[in-house]
Subunit: 307 residues, 2 copies
């Protein structure tokens, strides 16, 4: 069993009310891969970096069962760089710098050794890039999960709609679900979006948790109330990685099992925000994850006697 | 077993994106009483109205087991009037008119027939008014639940702190919890607020659900994702009424039972928003409530196998 993680690999500069870091490894595919590698290996990365990307970071990923054959290294060029500053509420941020660098010319290539992967996670990238990966798969994966963002709805909506027809699960945040559907009610938004292709919709609401929609069913997972959110960068990608990693491990893509996968993703995301970048994800053990999931069970568990 | 509901009884004019109503009965005590009367009777109201308040409304309340002996009717004066307009997102509203009328001179009197009540719900009112009711009770109720709002934190913080020392449960929304504590993290805010007196804190987050804090424990209840929110007026008071009504019915004020009470309150609130004012609350049956609670169980129920 293996899992493909498509997405950026980058350097980030991050400033939060609690501190700042000028250069830390980041990018969707890094967070997805670290999160998923707790559940399934190999995690097969498809991405692109410049020759400034440290070998030590690649070695650390490889030691976790993350394969980098699909990560192109471009000589003489720089890796994607993003810089942002979080506001005091940690829910909003200003992007200070976006240097696409190598990502501007990214044409993904799926290595032959990745072809047997049954789980495909498409991190946030241009929809045409996401579609290219799907089209290169000789056997349609058992499950394709896709992240996207408002930016692509603004400038590449037709491309986005074309990818939506080919995926099983779409992950967006609440404002993106509203923008994509033109509906304020998330229930109505979910119905419209599922009519566009995906059979499942995950709506991420940050500190307010996440909703999973499928047909007429809805499941809600809370976010763990935390004393401190140190750095939210990568939490959404970590959530995605935990979600699809758990599904790949259990090989069960039913709505019932996706509920559990949402809880697992939420648990992983709750670690991510505790330190800068992916630092906390590099530390956690299976025991840490089990304890955190138990906290989620406690958080929502109640006994009901009907009225 | 009986329950006292202290709070405004009023006329409201409400405008939402879906329609408007120029004059409908409202006020915290009305919503609390209708919600709680599904679980326990009598519900004993302490409030004040003018002689413009319709006898038919009072008769309808009485027919539900709501006692009005503690509701003063002031001849020649008008009832409290509030008018507001909701924004498209239904989470924010502008207050257009606040005519206190009789409420400006409200001095609550606890009738002798209410003295045996074991459950006391203090709806949002001046803290000094809330304290007066507590002080009039010859036997300290088994449970005192208190609602308040940012307005009193701004102009009567010392009074508010005096009441906090005497109550068991405080209910506020997330921004009020942050204001009262000076902490952005709700976990830290909860600790500080519980140090001020209440052993339990309920943080209402509207469409994002509610959190219950007690000692080192936290419980999360989601709000039901609804296709339409028609009118949010009174949802918080309805939540409070369902919460304390269920506790009064079960006579169990443990943290475990309060979890269930939070779910019950959320279920009642989800009805409230379906029609203008308390109209929907006047219609619902025990069967409706049971079905709605089952939806909440489905919404958060998952099976977890640890990693």
């Amino acid at each position: 069993m293996s899992l493909i993680s498509v997405g950026s690999v980058a350097f980030d500069a991050i400033e939060t009310p609690f501190g700042k870091v000028d250069r830390i490894v980041g990018g969707a595919s890094v967070y997805i891969a670290y999160a998923a590698s707790n559940f399934v290996t190999p995690v097969q990365v498809i991405s692109i970096v410049g020759d400034d990307f440290p070998v030590s970071e690649m070695d650390e990923m490889k030691s976790r069962g993350i394969q980098l054959e699909g990560m192109e290294i471009v000589a003489g060029k720089k890796s994607f760089f993003w810089s942002g500053r979080y506001h005091l509420d940690m829910n909003t941020r200003d992007t200070l710098v976006t240097d696409l660098n190598v990502l501007a010319d990214f044409i993904p290539v799926v290595p032959e050794s990745y072809q047997s992967s049954e789980f495909l996670m498409l991190g946030n990238l241009a929809p045409s890039t996401q579609l290219s990966v799907i089209n290169q798969m000789k056997t349609r994966p058992k499950l394709i999960v896709m992240d996207t963002m408002n930016f692509w709805m603004d400038i590449a909506l037709d491309d986005l709609k074309a990818v939506l027809k080919k995926v099983d699960v779409l992950m967006v945040n609440d404002s993106e679900a509203r923008q994509l559907s033109g509906e304020y009610s998330l229930v109505k938004a979910a119905k419209k979006i599922m009519d566009m292709g995906p059979r499942f919709l995950v709506v991420k609401k940050g500190e307010h948790g996440a909703l999973l929609f499928h047909e007429d069913h809805v499941f809600f997972a809370p976010a763990l109330p935390l004393e401190e959110v140190f750095d939210p960068t990568g939490a959404g990608d970590t959530f995605a990685g935990g979600f699809i990693g758990y599904l790949a491990k259990t090989k069960d893509i039913s709505f019932e099992n996706m509920k559990t996968a949402i809880i697992v993703g939420s648990a992983l995301a709750s670690f991510c925000v505790e330190k800068f970048g992916p630092n906390r994800l590099k530390e956690i053990t299976k025991t840490d994850i089990e304890q955190r999931i138990s906290q989620f069970v406690q958080l929502v568990n109640f006994d009901i006697d009907l009225v």
